[in-house]
Amino acid sequence: MQPRNTRIGLILFFVYLLLYGGFVFLNALSPDSMDWQPIEGINLAISYGFVLIIGAFLMALLYGLLCKTERSHDASSMEDEQ
């Protein structure tokens, strides 16, 4: 069994990867979409950027809440991901 904290970490990582990847590819492939204003006067470039920064903080917070401190762990349980 993969330790719980590592699994939570990887799930959160992939969620953030989607969010970040979405931003990067939107910039690279459709830069004009960054002009769209989801909030009046504030374009997507700024709002998405702020979401990525605030989102990183919120996800780190979530990670901190979900993780349990493993008092003792079986060190040999390191698994590969094949």
């Binding site: 330790p3 990582f13 006067g41 504030i42 374009n43 990525l52 901190g64 993780c67 094949q82």
Partner: protein, 656 residues
């Protein structure tokens, strides 16, 4: 621009730097005399440790570089802020937990303890050295940048001064940069960036036609496109007393008009034509002639205020709705107002005249506010028709994402508190402080863009100059915070490099045997050599944005280290040969790519970027996957030759 030192600023600066260094030495000595440096860390409260994370990570490079790039190019600089912070997600979610289960704190520890391979030590030692040197360059450039407006010294003196100071500190006393000092620096940087942002918002936007020295840049026209330049010159009163210089030599076919004034100065006009109208915009020109003299707009550059110099720039030339100023703004109305305003940015054009003198024309570019708030002014490739140009941008964003977790020294602080819960809490505080600071970089950068205080010749100075335009105290404090950060970071990097040379290369790999005293001496000599290299490179790379340079360090770190780190943690069949090859290939390919890139051609060698060997400048998107492929292929080829120890064999030992 001519920089005159201000007494108040120098005194505040020296007092601040002295206090921080003194505190650092004091606490460092305490840590040595108590139960040792790392034992003391067990007592550090998680909140303090979290802010110290920010102090460690937010080098002056990210403060100076990001703000400077935003001030000159707009939103694109903010992409670095986003990428740097996203890198923490990789470090926290993917690398930190499994590393902790290995009982290891750094990349090098984890790799060495798993295989006990001399080859791994050698390549990791070299890659640590290369990454550290590339990380040192922007710090040194940043140091020169801080010294120049503050003390009035030229850039190279600043670099030399910092380099010599740090070498002195490292070789005489050995600098222990403690958590408390990083906490102090981290919180001061965040707090004073907050103050700066508050002042920017309170000041709002003011419509101006020039910088803070009061010089008004003239704009003539628009004239109908059908009128020739001769007609425009004859029909415009502003040209009455001036003589038009012929458009020969390099000036032929260029969009400039040069008019000589009665006092001998030359005014350079950028000719802007949009097909229907022609507008002439006053520009600024810096010439270095064959005698080594510097001329500003055709006159010998002065040494005191009032004599010929380049004027400060950066202003809003038109606010929406016929207003001259906006009054205080909020966090969101700041963007709304800027988005509807018209901003003057400055471009540059480098020319070599037939007599060999080098001329740089700095010309105004009127840009709509909405344009500086969207990506594409620095990374022009994303709006190009050529898909390869987009790869450059993707490559950078990938390297920033992967780089943080691959920097040899970055994860250590995760383990400096008493237990895992405290470690996670302090990381969250760290991400909060770093994220908050990065949000502020957008306000500070854009605030500098319209502050009227920018130096057209370098973007790195934008944040300190913005502070200087507000008041001397703020300027002195911000410069001092940034400067102590440079000293701390440079000392740490030089010690890390010296350690890599002594332990990893000389002792472990090449089999030298030193006594305790000899080892210290060798480490000191290594510090002097690395420090001297850093000084040289800091002077050489003066013209480059420091955050851009940090981007290179991230690319090399991510290409050399990340594939091995991830595969070691998650793929059981990784072999030592696989790791050696992946680190070697990742490091050499990314280093070669950077050295052969168009950006280096242009900024360092002074060659035409179109002649560069590689199709785009950022290596990450090619060299990071290359590292992974090398590792997998070599590991599969060499699997079965050596039994890998089970993790339980090494999970218990080797803690630092």
């Amino acid at each position: 621009m001519i920089y005159e030192p201000s007494t108040i600023a120098v005194i505040v600066f020296l007092a601040f730097v002295g206090l921080t260094l003194g505190l650092s030495f004091y606490l460092g000595r305490q840590a040595k005399s108590s139960e040792g440096f790392f034992a003391a860390h067990g007592q550090i409260p998680w909140f303090v440790n979290g802010v110290a994370f920010a102090g460690d990570y937010l080098s002056a490079a990210s403060f100076l570089g990001i703000c400077g790039m935003i001030a000159f190019k707009g939103y694109d600089g903010f992409l670095y802020s986003i990428g740097y912070l996203a890198g923490w997600i990789v470090a926290l979610f993917v690398v930190a937990e499994p590393m902790k289960r290995l009982g290891k704190f750094t990349f090098a520890d984890a790799l060495n303890s798993t295989f006990h391979s001399r080859g791994i030590r050698l390549v990791v030692g070299i890659s640590t050295l290369v990454v550290s040197v590339f990380y040192l360059i922007p710090q040194m450039v940043g140091a020169g940048v801080l010294i120049q407006p503050l003390l009035g010294f030229p850039h190279w003196v600043g670099v030399l001064l910092v380099g010599a100071t740090v070498i002195g500190i490292v070789t005489s006393a050995g600098m222990v940069s403690t958590t408390w000092v990083q906490f102090l620096k981290g919180s001061l940087l965040v707090v004073f960036s907050g103050v700066l942002t508050y002042v920017i918002l309170q000041r709002g936007f003011i419509e101006k036609q020039g910088g803070i020295d009061g010089h008004v840049f003239q704009v003539l026209g628009p004239f109908p496109a059908s009128s020739s330049l001769d007609q425009i010159v004859q029909g415009t009163p502003a040209f009455q007393d001036s003589q038009v210089l012929p458009s020969d030599d390099v000036w032929a076919d260029r969009p400039y008009l040069r008019t000589k004034q009665p006092d001998g100065g030359v005014t350079f006009w950028r000719i802007d034509s949009d097909g229907e109208t022609t507008t002439l915009r006053e520009s600024q020109v810096l010439t270095i002639n064959l005698n080594g003299e510097t001329l500003v707009n055709g006159m010998l550059k002065g040494v005191q205020k009032g004599e010929p110099e380049l004027h400060p720039v950066g202003y809003i030339h038109q606010l929406a709705g016929d207003r001259e100023e906006t009054g205080p703004l909020g966090m969101l109305s700041f963007f709304r107002e800027l988005g509807t305003a018209e901003v003057t940015l400055w471009g540059e054009d480098k020319l070599v005249e037939s007599d060999g003198s080098k001329t740089t024309v700095y010309y105004p570019i009127p840009v709509s506010g909405s344009e500086v708030l969207r990506p594409g002014r620095k990374f022009t490739g994303i709006r190009s028709d050529n898909p390869i140009d987009r790869l450059n941008f993707l490559s950078l964003m990938l390297a920033l994402f992967c780089g943080t977790a691959s920097l040899p020294h970055i994860l250590i602080r995760y383990y400096t508190v008493k237990d895992e819960a405290a470690a996670r809490k302090s990381t969250i505080v760290g991400i909060a402080a770093i994220g908050f600071f990065y949000v502020l970089t957008l306000y500070i950068g854009l605030g500098a863009m319209v502050s009227g205080s920018l130096d057209v010749t370098t973007d790195n100075m934008s944040a300190p100059l913005l502070a200087k335009s507000i008041n001397q105290w703020l300027f002195a404090i911000i410069s001092a915070i940034a400067f102590t950060t440079v000293l701390g970071t440079v000392s740490g990097l030089i010690i890390a490099s010296a350690g890599a040379v002594t332990h990893d290369l000389l002792v472990s790999s090449l089999g030298f045997k030193f006594s305790g005293n000899e080892e210290v001496r060798v480490a000191k000599i290594a510090s002097i050599i690395v420090g001297s290299i850093a000084i040289g490179l800091g002077i050489l790379f003066k013209g480059l944005n420091v955050s851009f340079l940090v981007g290179w360090a991230f690319s090399i770190a991510a290409s050399a280290n990340l594939p091995s780190l991830i595969m070691l943690l998650f793929w059981k069949r990784t072999t030592s040969q696989g790791i050696i090859s992946a680190v070697t290939v990742g490091m050499i390919s990314s280093l070669a790519w950077v050295l052969l890139s168009g950006d280096t051609y242009q900024a360092v060698y002074g060659l035409d970027p179109a002649d560069a060997f590689v199709p785009f400048s950022q290596p990450g998107i090619v060299t990071i996957p290359l590292g992974f492929i090398t590792l997998v292929v070599v590991s599969l080829m060499t699997s079965g030759r050596e039994p890998r120890q089970s993790p339980s064999d090494y999970a218990s030992g080797g803690q630092k």
